[in-house]
Structure formats: C-alpha cells, structure tokens
C-alpha cells in the first residue's frame, strides 16, 4: 500500500466520521465545526486527485465563506428558544428504512459499475492544475462560463429586491 492509498483511507474515514458527527451532535455549533472538518477532508481528496485549484477553492469558499455564514445565522437566532421537534416513531422508522434503501441501491449500483472511462480520466491526469483548468474554462467551456455571469447578475438583483422590500 503506497502513501496515496494510506492517505486516502485516513481522509475517507475522517470525512465519514465527521459527517456522522454533524448529524449526531445536539449542539448546532458543534455540527458546524464538524462540517468544517468534512470540507478539509474532501479538500485533501482533491489534492490526492492532483486537483490543487479545486482543493484551494473548496477551502476558501466552503470552509471559509459559507461556514462564516452558517455561524452568523446561528449567532443571530436564539438557540435556547428552538426546541428540537419531537418526531413520531413512525416517521423515524420510515426515514431509517428509506435511507437504508438508498444506501443499498448505491452500493449495489457502484459495485457493478463499469468505471474504466472514469479511471483513465483521473489517474495521472493534470486536468486539475490551475493552468489547464483556466485554458479549458476559457476555450471549451466559455459559454457556460458566460452564462454563469448572467446567473449571478440575476441572483444579485433578486437578493437586493428581497432585501430592500
């Protein structure tokens, strides 16, 4: 087992453990902190895939900006007032059953999947480096890039209107 494989297992188990802790922990602030750990573990995965740009952006945007937003919201609402809604046993059972079904389907589907095309794309690929990503973004994927600018414009206009009332 090479270094990459060992790192992969460490990062994966870390990501899974912290993801479970997000759901399990009672205190929302703890959940947010575990979420940050998930993002870091996933960024580590991106690094293993040689996608440095994605790793950095993931940390800046998700672990940085979005987490700060989460914490702000938690700060603004009064946590003591909000009681944990007591769901009935049936709803919990149905939730567990559907979750298990989804897990089963995913495992079965992934175990039979033909992954050859995907493997050739990622192993040894330099597609995630900043230079290559920039080149492809401004040549092949230029139109989607431009569309996203209109998307942001309209999202901003919408946010301003809702905020201004």
């Amino acid at each position: 087992m090479g270094v990459t494989a060992i790192l992969f297992w460490i990062l994966s188990s870390l990501a899974l453990l912290s993801a479970i802790m997000i759901v399990v922990s009672k205190n929302p602030v703890h959940s947010v902190l575990w979420l940050i750990l998930v993002f870091f573990a996933i960024s580590g995965h991106y690094l293993l895939l040689n996608a440095q740009f994605l790793a950095i952006v993931n940390i800046i945007v998700y672990a940085g900006a979005i987490m700060v937003l989460f914490l702000y919201v938690l700060m603004l609402i009064d946590l003591k007032k909000i009681v944990d809604p007591q769901r009935s046993l049936w709803i919990k059972l149905v939730g567990v059953a559907t979750g298990c079904c989804l897990l089963l389907v995913l495992i079965a589907a992934l175990s039979k999947a033909d992954q050859t095309t995907a493997l050739t794309q990622t192993i040894g690929g330099n597609i995630g480096l900043v230079e290559n990503l920039g080149k492809i973004l401004f040549s092949e994927y230029l139109v989607p890039f431009e569309i996203s600018s209109i998307l942001f414009l309209s999202a901003m206009v919408g946010a301003v209107v809702i905020g201004k009332k």
Partner: protein
C-alpha cells in the same frame, strides 16, 4: 463566423440586449413613470417576438455547446409569445409596483435560461441554464412585497428547487463517472444500461419531475402558486413548465434513446400517479390559484402520456398541447389576475354570480376552462386527443383508459366553477370591473387562439413538418 453567431443566437442575444437596456434604465438618474416604462417594455417584447419568427437558421455553435433547429426556434417563439401575454396581463398590477424594472429583469433572465436550456448540447450547460431559469423565479415569487404568504412561497420555491437541483447534479456526476462525457451527441453510444447509469438516470428524472411538478415531486406546487403574485404564478405554471417539458422531450428522445424501455416504465407510473392525484386534489380546492395549480399538475400527467409515445407524433403532440395550454391557462389567469388586483378576491365562492356583473370576463374564463377540460369546439380537445393518440401507439390501453376516466373527473371540477359563475346567487358579488386595454388585448388573443386552433388544423401539421 460573426454573422453565424448573430443569426443562430438571435433570440438569446435579443433577450440579453433587452436585459441590459433595463439595467441601464434602472441605473440612470432620469425618473420615468411606470406606464411609459411598461409600454416601452411591451413594445420591446413584441419586437423580440417578431424578430424571432423571421430568418431563422439552424446549426451548432461553440464546439457543439449550443445547437439550434427549426423545432427549438418554434418552441422559443411559443415561450416568447407566452411572456408577452403575461406582460400585457400584469399591466394593472405592475403599474403600482415600485420594482417594475427588476421584475422584468428577473423574468427575462429566467426566459433566457430556458432558451439556453432548450439549445444546450451539453449536460453542464444544461444544468447552468436550468439554474438560470429557476433562481430568478424564486425571487419573483416574493414580489408581493408586503404579503407574508409571498415570502413563504419564495422560500419554499428556493428550498425545493435547490433540493431538486441537488438530485439532478448528483445524477449528472454519476453519469459523467460512467460515461466519461457530458456531450449530448456522445452520450448515447456510451449508454449500456448498467445499474449506476439507471440509478443516475432516475435521479435526472426526479430533477425534471420537480420542475414540471409531476407527482410525487409536486408538493411545493400548490403553496408556491397560491402565495406568489398571479403574474408569477402564470409564468410558473405555463412558461417554466412548458420549457422543461420541451427539454424533457428532446433529451429523452435523443440522448437517452438507448434507455427507452426504462423510461417508458417510469413515465407510465409517473403519468398515472400525476393524473389521479392531481385531479383528486383539485376536486376539493376552494382557492382559485390552488385549484389551477392542481389542475396544472393533472395536465402534466396527460403530457407525460404523449411523451411516452416515443415517436414523431409524441413530440408534435406535446408541442401542440403546450401551445394550447399556454393560451387556455393564460386566459384563465388573466381573468383571475384582474379580479384579484381590482377587488382582492380569490376563492371560488367569490365567483358566484360573476356572470351578472361581468358577462365578458365570465365568457373568457368559461372558454378557458372548457379548453382545459378538453371539450370539443375548443382547442383543448384536440390537444388532449393528439396526446392520447401518441400514447396509444404503445398499445398500453390501461394508461389511455385511466386518462379518459380522469378527463371525466376533470370535467366535473371545471364545470363546478362554471356553474358557480353562471347559476349561483350571491349577496355581494364581484362588482363590475373595468378592463384596461392591455389585459383586454391579451384576453382577446388568448380566446381567439383557443377557438382558431380548435377549428383550423394546419398548426399541428406545421409542427409535424418542423420535426421531419
């Protein structure tokens, strides 16, 4: 090269131009009255519609990212037409609104998203365009600024659309994992029907199902339709639904053709559920907007039957039906819009005795409801007829029988509204409403369209000739 670009993307570029004109008017310091702005915008939209009809060319651009053909151009013209009608109908409401320009900015960005979604030839581009066509609408739902329900509708819209986009994106990423390509032209060759592909395909269909509000993905529909301003509700129920249906047809028929046995089963179940549940819930609605929301869910069930036919007739009947559906639903929403903006009444009970005070509006609403129910002289009958014909090609008579039974149930609840308007007495009926010029024009166009398309059959043949 440049002329190619200008001609092929003509409709999109015109919309972008209008959006930028609006941004500059908003940023400029000159004060303009809402009436003059509305007239100017309506003229711009009319120019946009007319320019879309002439000199249309087909081809691909940007290395297969964007493609266009005669059918797409026709579909975009239908959407343009629907937006113009909605704009005329909302004249009365927008006249007093302080965020008039933002309304059109968001509306036209959503429309641009739909155009790009129709023309997209790549899953990534498709996803971005789908987002562009939903996020502005979520903001639009909040445009009744002082009403709580409107904010609630916007919130529900953004949450449910984010959830459905999440499913769609998960499906797309699995898909990329198994096929190694995002290009629509290359996907069919790589489809082999393995388990992961089918699972991701189910996720994609779920994403589509949310947007066209097929049961069991319909739960957001009634609340969002009820809370939003009526102009936005009519946009949601006809334009955005129509656009996604157009895309669904072309994606299923072209890209996922190798998986057709799977999606036939999915469409079969979805359309059964959608028709039955949509109709049963529509029976007990008291609010006009909720009533039309459930009736529009039931209509989607019929559309899915047409799509399941998997033939040229399938495409033609769906496009034809959407055209008729836009006309009939917009005629109905036009009347409800006027009544709501003049006297703030929305429940079916308020419409009792409507004929005594407003005979003209009653006739418009009656013709629209007849067309939605599918009663022969109106166009709605032929729309439904062609859909069922296309679906019957698969020899699945259970589906057609259930559809026919559902048409009977639907007839009952549409007639209930008509009976209330014509026959029931009411102590304080809706007073006589003076119809302004723009909504009147929109209603005349809609009613004329419903009647002409019911008599004159060349339109269906024209659509059919576009596909071949």
């Amino acid at each position: 090269m440049l002329t190619d670009f200008l001609l092929l993307m003509k409709q999109e570029l015109l919309l972008v131009a209008i959006i930028f004109i609006l941004v500059f008017i908003k940023l400029g310091s000159k004060e303009r009255s809402n009436e003059s702005l509305l007239n100017a915008i309506n003229i711009l939209l009319l120019i946009n519609l007319i320019a879309g009809i002439f000199n249309s060319q087909t081809g691909t651009l940007f290395g297969d990212m964007f493609n266009t053909n005669q059918l797409f151009i026709f579909e975009k013209n239908i959407l343009n037409f629907g937006v113009l009608i909605i704009s005329l109908q909302s004249y009365d409401w927008l006249k007093k609104h302080k965020h008039l320009i933002e309304f059109y900015l968001l509306l036209l960005s959503a429309l641009l998203g739909m155009f790009l979604m129709l023309s997209s030839n790549n899953l990534l581009m498709f996803y971005l365009a789908l987002e562009l066509s939903t996020i502005p609408i979520a903001a639009l739902c909040n445009f009744d600024l002082e009403k709580r329900k409107s904010s609630e509708a916007a919130f529900k819209m953004i949450i449910s659309s984010a959830f459905s986009s999440g499913l769609l994106l998960l499906g797309i990423s699995f898909f990329y994992g198994t096929t190694g390509t995002l290009n629509f032209a290359e996907i069919p060759a790589t489809l082999n029907g393995n388990a992961l592909q089918i699972f991701s395909f189910v996720l994609l269909i779920a994403g589509f199902g949310f947007k066209i509000s097929a049961v069991p993905f319909h739960l957001w529909t009634a609340d969002v339709y009820e809370g939003s301003p009526i102009s936005v509700t009519s946009f949601l129920s006809v334009i955005s639904k129509g656009a996604v249906v157009f895309v669904l047809v072309s994606v299923l028929y072209k890209v996922f053709e190798p998986l057709s046995e799977y999606w036939y089963t999915i469409l079969f179940l979805l359309s059964l559920l959608t028709m039955i549940i949509g109709n049963l819930f529509a029976l007990r609605q008291q609010n006009m907007k909720r009533f039309l929301a459930f009736s529009s869910i039931a209509q989607v069930g019929f559309i899915l039957i047409g799509i399941s036919g998997q033939s040229l007739e399938g495409t033609a009947s769906v496009v034809f039906f959407i055209l008729i559906y836009i006309l009939s639903n917009l005629a109905a929403f036009g009347v409800i819009n006027l009544v709501s903006s003049k006297c703030d009444k929305e429940s079916i009970g308020d419409y009792k005795g409507f004929y005594k005070s407003n005979p003209q509006l009653t006739w418009v609403l009656t013709i629209a409801l007849f067309s939605l129910a599918g009663i022969p002289p109106t166009a709605g009958f032929f729309g439904k007829f062609f859909l069922l014909m296309a679906g019957a090609a698969k020899n699945n008579y259970l589906l057609i029988t259930v559809a026919a039974l559902n048409m009977v149930i639907a007839l009952y609840y549409y007639l209930r509204v008509i009976k209330a308007m014509f026959m029931d007495a009411n102590e304080n009926p809706i007073e006589k409403i003076k119809i302004p010029f723009q909504p009147k024009l929109a209603m005349i166009i809609c009613v004329a369209g419903i009647i002409i398309l019911g008599i004159y059959s060349n339109c269906y043949q024209y659509i059919f000739s576009l596909i071949k």
